[in-house]
C-alpha cells in the first residue's frame, strides 16, 4: 500500500487517504482480505492525527470498501472485488463506445463493424 499526503492539495487529509485507498482497492492492488494498517499505526506513519485516519476508515467502511473487525483489524471487503469488476466493465464499455464511434465517423455500418470486431477477436484465439 502506498499513501502520500500532500499539504498543497486543498482536499482535506481524510479525503486524500480515502481516495488513495479506494483507488488501490479498485485497481486491485489491495485485494479482498488485505489487512490495512491499524488506525494508530497509519496515523503515526503519516505523522497526522489519529482522528483523521479514523474518519477515513469509517467512511471507507460506510462505503463498503473495507470491513473492521473489533480487535482484529480492518480488511478490504470481499465486495472490493465487485468494485474492481464493475470499474473494469465500465472501462470496457467506454473502449467499445470509442471504437464504434470512430468506425461510424468513417461511415461504416453495423455489419462492417461486427466484421472488424470478429477479425480481431479471432486473432486473440478462443
Amino acid at each position: 500500500m502506498f499513501i502520500a499526503l500532500s499539504n498543497n492539495d486543498p482536499t482535506p487529509l481524510y479525503e486524500q487517504i480515502k481516495k488513495q485507498i479506494t483507488e488501490q482497492i479498485i485497481n486491485g492492488e489491495l485485494p479482498p482480505g488485505y489487512m490495512l494498517p491499524s488506525i494508530r499505526v497509519l496515523a503515526k506513519e503519516l505523522g497526522i492525527s489519529v482522528i483523521t485516519v479514523k474518519k477515513a476508515y469509517e467512511d471507507l467502511e460506510a462505503g463498503g470498501y473495507i470491513v473492521t473487525n473489533q480487535g482484529k483489524g480492518s480488511f478490504v471487503a470481499k465486495a472490493g472485488a465487485e468494485f474492481v469488476r464493475e470499474s473494469r466493465l465500465k472501462e470496457i464499455q467506454q473502449s467499445f463506445e470509442n471504437g464504434i464511434s470512430l468506425c461510424r465517423e468513417l461511415g461504416m455500418d453495423s455489419e462492417e463493424i461486427i466484421k472488424i470486431f470478429n477479425d480481431i477477436l479471432d486473432e486473440f484465439g478462443p
Binding site: K44, G47, S49, T52
Partner: protein, 293 residues
Amino acid sequence: MSMVISINGLCKKYEKFSLKDVSFQAPKGYIMGFIGRNGAGKSTVIKCLMDMIPFESGKIELFGLDSRSFANENKKRIGYVGEDQYFYESMTAGWSLEFFGRFFSDWDNDYGYSLLKRFDIDPSKKVSELSKGMKVKLALAIALGHRPELLILDEPTSGLDPVIRNEILELLAETVQDENCSVFFSSHITTDIEKIADYVTVIDDGRIILSDEKDSIISKWKMFKVENSCRGEELLGRLIGVKKGEFGFSGITDKPDSFIKELNRRCPGARYKMENITLDDLLVRIAKESDTI
C-alpha cells in the same frame, strides 16, 4: 469516551493575572494540544493540573480522580516535563536519569537507559555539556521511564531546532500507539500542534476560547478577505480578529455560510475570498479580538 483530564470552572487569581472559569476535557488515548500566546495561562493551568499550585475554585480530575485528594496516586501515572529543566549541572546524564527516576515507584531503569540511547544521549556526559535540546530529551527520558499513562508537557519544543522538534513529535505519536496513554502538551508553536494533535484547546487571557477536535476546527473556521466597499460595522461584527487594510479587510468565522449570506445580502456582487485557516491564524485573530475589547 473516557476523559483522562477533566477541568471544570477552574479559577486562580494572581495579582496581575487570573484564570477565569477554565473548563475543558481531554479524552483518553489521544493527543491534546494546548495553545495560546505567552502569558495566556497555559503554564498556570498545567501547574494546577499537577497540583503544584493551589487554586481558589473549580474541580480538576485526572483519570477520574480529584487532582488534589489523589495527587500522589496521580503523579505515579503522569510523566511531566516542564518549561525549564532543573538538573544538577555537574552530574552526568546517567546519574540524573537514575536520581530523578527513582522518585517513581514504577521506574524501569533499563527502559530509561534504552531511551537515553534512543535519544542519542551519552549517559556519561555532564548535564552542563548537554545542549538545550538534549536536556529536554533527558527530561523526557526521565518522564517516560516509569511508563506513565499521561504525559503532560509544558512547552516542550520551545527554543528547539526543527530537527529535534520533529523527533519529539514523533515520540509523542509513538506514545499514543498504546490506547491507554494520552498526551497533553502546551505550545505556542502552532505548527507542531497542527501536525499531530487530535484535539486542540485554545486559551487567551486566562479564558478558554475553544476546545474541539483539531480536524473540526480546521474545517469549521474560515478566513474571509473582503473588499472595502463592503466594510459596514454590522458585517465586521460577524468576524473575529478583524484586520482593516487599504486593499480590503479580513477576519475569521466559524459560520462561513451565514457570513456569505449576509455579505451577499448587504453588498451583492462584492468581491471576497474564503480560505482555510491555520492554527496560527486562529491564535493571532483570537488574540487580536481580545486585545481590541
